[in-house]
């Protein structure tokens, strides 16, 4: 099972430049055309499952708008 992750994009910083979209190795980012940021950009958003939390989108984001999370590996729960 690949690691499960997700991103949060901060509207204060995102300028809809699409660089994260071009860099994501699993192609799970798109612009949200239903919304505008306070500065008038369509912000980036996750479009589907499959994010691995690799952080590559955050490395290329020129506006440090992305926070990347990963689900912790599930520890084996002993069956009583």
């Amino acid at each position: 099972m690949p690691v499960k992750g997700w991103i949060e994009v901060n509207d204060l910083y995102c300028k809809g430049c699409e660089l994260c979209i071009t860099a994501c190795p699993v192609d799970v980012i798109q612009l949200d055309y239903s919304r505008l940021t306070p500065k008038g950009y369509h912000p980036a958003m996750l479009k589907s499952d499959g994010c691995t939390g690799c952080g590559i989108c955050a490395v290329i984001c020129p506006d440090a708008a992305i926070t990347v999370y990963r689900e912790p590996k599930k520890a084996k729960v002993p069956t009583a």
Partner: protein, 259 residues
């Protein structure tokens, strides 16, 4: 037994070394990436509280608003002179300049050459986007042969306007310089290498080893008149052949460092 945790792991978040304000840079401009790398490096080295930045004239004229350290603003091209004064008066502080190619290689040519020649113990982050961004896309000393700008509308004619000036190669000939490298911001792997270079440049200063400079190939999608992604491709396809990436001078002590 291992404790069970269900809290999500935060893999990456905006560094505290950046202020919490929206920047004025155009969408996709890699000035923002270099700002972020500087912030991350200063945070990781624990130097943020003792660092003084010197901002240039150019698009990054407001760097002092975005980088969460003390900052001063220099006259066009004069940042290395100002940094020299600050570092000599306050050697306990970390002092760096942030300069574009118009600022550093054109009007500021004298200041950068002499700062390197004197071996000033300062760090320079040099953003080479091959153009004057702020003033509307005029030809810079770093503009590529044949490249169209508002002041070379038919493309830079080397017969008339000469060839691009390769600052890292030149500054590496200075005896006082200890760390001179060129990196690029066009792709995540290269961005990671750029961050390591910025780290080594500040490590050079921390060790009192003299002048350090990291040249970063950067984009100007607005004045190149391309999309942010196409601008990254332009760096890879057209800029790197003219401005090859590499280490032009690395003091052996710094070469040994693992960062």
């Amino acid at each position: 037994m291992a404790t069970l945790t269900t809290d999500p792991i935060q893999v990456y978040k905006r560094p505290v070394g950046l202020t919490e304000v929206h920047s004025h840079y155009c969408p996709g401009c890699t000035h923002g990436i270099s700002h972020r790398l500087i912030a991350e490096v200063l945070d990781e080295m624990g130097l943020r509280e003792k660092t003084i930045g010197v901002a240039p004239v150019g698009c990054s004229v407001f760097a002092y608003k975005y980088l969460n350290t003390d900052y001063v603003e220099a006259a066009h091209g004069r940042a290395p002179a100002m940094a020299t004064g600050i570092k000599r008066v306050r050697p306990e502080n970390i002092v760096y300049t942030y300069q574009g190619d118009g600022d550093l290689a054109s009007i500021g040519m004298a200041e950068i050459m002499h700062a390197a020649g004197r071996g000033e113990n300062i760090t320079v982050i040099f953003i080479n986007n091959a153009i004057y961004g702020m003033t509307g896309g005029q030809m810079a000393p770093t503009t590529l042969p044949g490249m169209k700008t508002t002041s070379s509308p038919k493309g830079r004619d080397v017969e008339m306007a000469g060839f691009p000036i390769k600052m890292s190669e030149i500054l590496a000939t200075m005896q006082g310089s200890s760390y001179i490298v060129r990196r690029s911001l066009h792709d995540p792997a290269y961005i990671r290498k750029s961050k390591k270079a910025i780290r080594k440049a500040f490590e050079t200063q921390v060790r009192g080893m003299g002048f350090s400079l990291v040249e970063l190939l950067s984009t100007c999608p607005t004045n190149w008149k391309v999309t942010p992604y196409e601008a990254l491709q332009f760096v890879e396809d057209s800029m790197i052949p003219v401005f090859p990436l590499g280490d032009f001078k690395v003091h052996p002590e710094i070469a040994k460092l693992k960062v």
